[in-house]
Assembly symmetry: C4
Homo-oligomer: 456 residues x 4
Amino acid sequence: MEGPALTAAAKRRHESLLRTLAHPTNTVPKLADDTTFEFNVIASEKLPEYAQLDLFHRAVYPFMLLAQFFAVMPLIGIRQPNPRRVRFAYKSLPMIVTVTFIAATLTLLAAMLKHLLEIGINAKNFVGLVFFGCVLLAYFVFIRLARRWPHLIRYWTRTELVFNRAPYEMPKRNLYKRVQLAGLMIIGLSIGEHAMFQISAILTYKRRIQLCSAAANVTAVTSFEDYARTNYDYAFQWLPYNPVMAALLLLINGACTFVWNYMDLFIMMVSKGLSYRFEQITARIRKLEHEEVTESTFIEIREHYVNMCELLEYVDSSMSSLILLSCVNNLYFVCYQLLNVFNKLRWPINYIYFWYSLLYLIGRTAFVFLTAADINEESKRGLGILRRVSSKSWCVEVERLIFQMTTQVVALSGKKFYFLTRRLLFGMAGTIVTYELVLLQFDEPNRRKGLLPLCA
Amino acid sequence: MEGPALTAAAKRRHESLLRTLAHPTNTVPKLADDTTFEFNVIASEKLPEYAQLDLFHRAVYPFMLLAQFFAVMPLIGIRQPNPRRVRFAYKSLPMIVTVTFIAATLTLLAAMLKHLLEIGINAKNFVGLVFFGCVLLAYFVFIRLARRWPHLIRYWTRTELVFNRAPYEMPKRNLYKRVQLAGLMIIGLSIGEHAMFQISAILTYKRRIQLCSAAANVTAVTSFEDYARTNYDYAFQWLPYNPVMAALLLLINGACTFVWNYMDLFIMMVSKGLSYRFEQITARIRKLEHEEVTESTFIEIREHYVNMCELLEYVDSSMSSLILLSCVNNLYFVCYQLLNVFNKLRWPINYIYFWYSLLYLIGRTAFVFLTAADINEESKRGLGILRRVSSKSWCVEVERLIFQMTTQVVALSGKKFYFLTRRLLFGMAGTIVTYELVLLQFDEPNRRKGLLPLCA
Amino acid sequence: MEGPALTAAAKRRHESLLRTLAHPTNTVPKLADDTTFEFNVIASEKLPEYAQLDLFHRAVYPFMLLAQFFAVMPLIGIRQPNPRRVRFAYKSLPMIVTVTFIAATLTLLAAMLKHLLEIGINAKNFVGLVFFGCVLLAYFVFIRLARRWPHLIRYWTRTELVFNRAPYEMPKRNLYKRVQLAGLMIIGLSIGEHAMFQISAILTYKRRIQLCSAAANVTAVTSFEDYARTNYDYAFQWLPYNPVMAALLLLINGACTFVWNYMDLFIMMVSKGLSYRFEQITARIRKLEHEEVTESTFIEIREHYVNMCELLEYVDSSMSSLILLSCVNNLYFVCYQLLNVFNKLRWPINYIYFWYSLLYLIGRTAFVFLTAADINEESKRGLGILRRVSSKSWCVEVERLIFQMTTQVVALSGKKFYFLTRRLLFGMAGTIVTYELVLLQFDEPNRRKGLLPLCA
Amino acid sequence: MEGPALTAAAKRRHESLLRTLAHPTNTVPKLADDTTFEFNVIASEKLPEYAQLDLFHRAVYPFMLLAQFFAVMPLIGIRQPNPRRVRFAYKSLPMIVTVTFIAATLTLLAAMLKHLLEIGINAKNFVGLVFFGCVLLAYFVFIRLARRWPHLIRYWTRTELVFNRAPYEMPKRNLYKRVQLAGLMIIGLSIGEHAMFQISAILTYKRRIQLCSAAANVTAVTSFEDYARTNYDYAFQWLPYNPVMAALLLLINGACTFVWNYMDLFIMMVSKGLSYRFEQITARIRKLEHEEVTESTFIEIREHYVNMCELLEYVDSSMSSLILLSCVNNLYFVCYQLLNVFNKLRWPINYIYFWYSLLYLIGRTAFVFLTAADINEESKRGLGILRRVSSKSWCVEVERLIFQMTTQVVALSGKKFYFLTRRLLFGMAGTIVTYELVLLQFDEPNRRKGLLPLCA
């Protein structure tokens, strides 16, 4: 169900729920007070309304559950509607899965590093190391995040409960729908990208065998083993080949691709969760236009606004590493792929894959940035109305709210090195163009060589 | 007539007009309330004063009318003095014209793309694709803008009515004259550019035929057909040649050039329309110096200032795509043309055209930027006087006004990625120089080759 | 005399002087009220104290007088202590001198352009055109400034009179001394630079003749004519040679060098004149620490601060073109000279001249920037004390003053494209390094060629 | 001892100490009032509690003492717990040591310059000049700082005494521990770096002798003399060789390396000393949450905050040259070393040294920047709580505090050209990447040549 008007009964229930929950609302989160929460978990056992509310936890849990299968963010109780049930434990099944995947990725990374040190690292084959390195880092960053997640999601839920009752209204498209849409789109497109990658690799392999066999007057023999050995040469130089191993390799590779995409998806979902609430605040402010508003209303609005800012600050401090990693990763891959734009490829399928992949990458990067920048845009959108508050309604609280909205940079950041705003994206685009121009010039000699002989 | 002192009678008429119009002044525009407007249209039928007022609609309509002939912004009733008569309809004559032009442009773009894929795309011949691509995008952006225009122009008119009566004074040169001047200048120079382009092409063609015929001992035969086939080879590889088709081609090409110029002209006119009102506010503030001013005056001024900011915000949200497109387009062409500065050309006429075109391009780009940046400059110009308000006249309203003027970026933006201010232009100039230096180095080998043989 | 403690009598005389002068102090300058000034000129004839006061006009007039001999800023009455005597007239002796010099410079520029078009313009020989072009532009910019100067200097004097009496104190080193020091240093170093340039040219010429004659077994004949013809080949290809013409050429060249240096000197003097007053305001604020200050004192300080900001704004609007020209000129020459750092030169004297010239250029550029940026630094220096104002003394006026100091960018600007602050200098340094790195790479092939044969 | 809870008696003693000390707390430091201090030195002779307090002087003195052995910051009485005993004198033992080291470094620099002028300066061997030049400059900058240090450390101590008593609490890890940790880490790693450098040089030398002797069928003879002559060729071309001289040379080289590292260490310690106090202010503000706070409390907090800002300002004005020098030095060496990443080296030990050195350099640079940027971050951390101050507790003082925290850039700066904040680091990283890309391209031809012959 998505955001129906709450019945009076439900509202009353909400309010009692809020009373029991709301008193610690204003505290800065302290990780130590988890024990008091444990008690509350039992007390609120009879409050099944969580499933009815438009909460962030409800919106993201399907994707977090999916991520668990790929060993990302090992948490227990993620399926429970009550965010208090979410727990982290080192001794748990998800954690075992995660450790297994990390070990596998580490093996691949080591195999690739060994391989590259043998044939010589250059700017082109470096990309594989970056890929596996980023994924490995992401695993660790997600584990660190998972440890904070139970506390974070409880704090988040407490802060957002107030937005589920009047005078706040649910926007036309609720949080659940928004997150679903973004999530399914990213996942769909990334599956497409990975499938295209496999198809491109298989077709290229087949055609090469056919042509080279024909040239050498040998019967063309394509086999899964040969294909795997060719494409994962770095791994099979080290590991013994057998079909199970090859299948595992493909699986690990797929998991890595998932993680690589999930980083961005996760940032996007969190951003949507935050900007959604700022949107509700803006909507509430907008409704006040032309009305005589009492100071107490402004006090309340400002309190909620400040609470959201505090939540954002807390989320930012937990997520900053992930954001930094995702940005560096995206910038590297965008630069890398842009550099290949003028390269000649052998088969049409390679072109199709390349362009699909490039556009997907740029699109995903832009989408993450813009979604995150939306928090910043949304947090300032109420200013226009507040500036029109008449002399009569004007009070210190409005002044404080305007001052805060004007001077505070409400945005996710990469470890405070930069804030994800629209202006940043503009600056970055300019810088990327500079890099590309220099790199293209650098790469000119390689590009001129053209294609390598097919059957070397 | 241009801004004479209004007679008392006219003033009274104005005020009644304003009373009937002004009550919805303070609302944020909602597209849905068009129906209530329809009623007003009939009610205000007896108010022909629109033609007497110094309104934005009156200033721009000649150019918008002209643009209609080139299929830009298909609107109905643009000639009416009353902005409420302006309407948009999908089933209308202007729309049919627009669709026709779009189809034609699309055909040219497709023909060029096909041609380039055959001969190989490179950085030099890519420019044609960008040109037609930008024009095509502009058509669509203008259609989207046209849909919003009826509402926008009504909202704009309502907001600016108040600036047509005392205490606001008309500046020495009114809006109509300003827009005329800028518009005629741009159109004149762009016609010059296009004419020069044609002359350069024709003369180059003729000289080549003469010289090559002389070299091959053949009688030189120049014909319109041959000229068209040579210069529009990409089109006639696909389309059958006949004189009508060739004439059409020239027409479409001309229309595309018009659209390409009109983007900038339109932004310029809108900018002038907005900064003109801020200028009036500044003038009013300036008159208050050395006077004891009551708070109610400041309340009024602040209200008008906030209204203008809201209008700007609304215009910006409607125009941002156009601004972004125009900026990217201008930057690309400036970079492209600058890159050709050191190229050798064959005939003097080529040099004349090249330099005229380059200077025109840079001039136009700078002019658009500076005109748009004027909004920003003008919006802050009252600050100096407000800072000198004496302790006695000082009140919360002045404080609010100063705070708003100081902290708000009042400027058109490119989708909020950047704001069109003077500082941006400085930063961009620096970046363009970097790009050029790298690109010049890149292009060095091509440049050294010099001219290709004439009669290949 | 430099800033002695004023006697009581002198003080009283000042105050009467101020009374007669001060009433138009607070008005934004209007060029039209010059006629009322004319009356005042006669009235204040009996006020010879101007020569005793520490005024900007008194500090700069020696340099402005010197500049007149080189046709810069043609004004009448610049020697008068009373700034009201300064006048501009198209029909005047200085103007005739200026026009003559402009004509001469124009001739040189045309000769050089003609010469370069014949031998082909490239990035290296382009520098001469830039030099003469900048000087020519500077002449025109200075004429435009001269027209505004009489009004500007009166307005300036009126604004700064208040800083000549208590409670303002004269800093240890007064304005006159500061300007003298900076001016004499720049002029001394620039004469050194020009002399070195001539010596380098002469020695190079002599050695070449000696060596080449020796190589060709001819008697070495050096003559002024030959020297002039060699070094000013571009001019004598067009003009007939005779000794007077050659001497004139050297003179014009020297005058151009003077103008080229004077641009920076002038900006520096104006900057010192402005920052001096802000320094006095800071000093006054500093004295108030630990005292109970009444609101009226803060009102007065704020008034003077705002007046200085207004004056700065007015000066900036008059000088912006000059600042822009000077910056572009300096950046171009710094980049150009830095590019030559790795070039091989033939004689030690060439190295000495090159390094002297390069260091002088960089030093002068940095000096102009830093002096101008000092206005910005100085204008904010009072903030520290104001922030410590105790709760008791706190009042709206302090709040306004702090707010203004915090949010207003008090600095000279280049047509508002950028503000001359210390941070700008940092950004520009970073950009120049980028340019240099790219340009050095670009210039690599030329550099490798080494020296051209001596006796070609 | 590290920050135990103070006993009541100690507290009382503190307070009397504070009374005697605190009255000049609010004054801007004037270098002239040193004489009054001298009196106080005697008066406070009976106050041995300095050694018990968590003061900056106590935290840094071990490292400053160590630095004295390497001739950095020649001060007397640095070992005394009482900061008033610290003195600077030109005629003192430390000063003699310093002058000796400066002379030695100058000799090395001159020898290297002479050597390079003979073999030709290029971008690669330029690095030695930069190293010795920076060290030499650092010596002078440190002497200038030493002259100001006695006054500065007294002012600092006076300002920070207040943070040693209630209501301020000591953070978990006190200043002494923090500085120790950072200091020992840097010193340990830098000793490692220098040792690795020597080992790498010795092994390279030995292997070369062995291989080349074998190739030439000569007995390999390695000696300290030959080693010294090879590695310090520039010095022994000028100076006579003898073992003492060689040992001295190694010593001077080591001292230079120490100074080169100590610059960064010193900035880091100062930064930690400042951000520690801001952290205490933040902690105090945090404790006020949910309490009804009287205005007097806010007055006190604001006073301490302003005092810290003033202290920072004063420290910045004394240290700016050092910061500028350290930044330029670090940027140059990071760029230089990054450029060598793709170079081929001969022996594994060279790779180990190179990578250790590169990572150490980048790590140290980032660490200095981040530690300095922490001041900025910490100074704004109280804002979140202050924004939540309820309407009841709201007062002008809170407003002033928020305004100041929001608008003032509280950070160390490089002569005000830039402020050491996290955003700066981000911008610099982007610029360094641009430089590297261009430089790598530039250096391409050299890189392709590969290793030079071993036994040339």
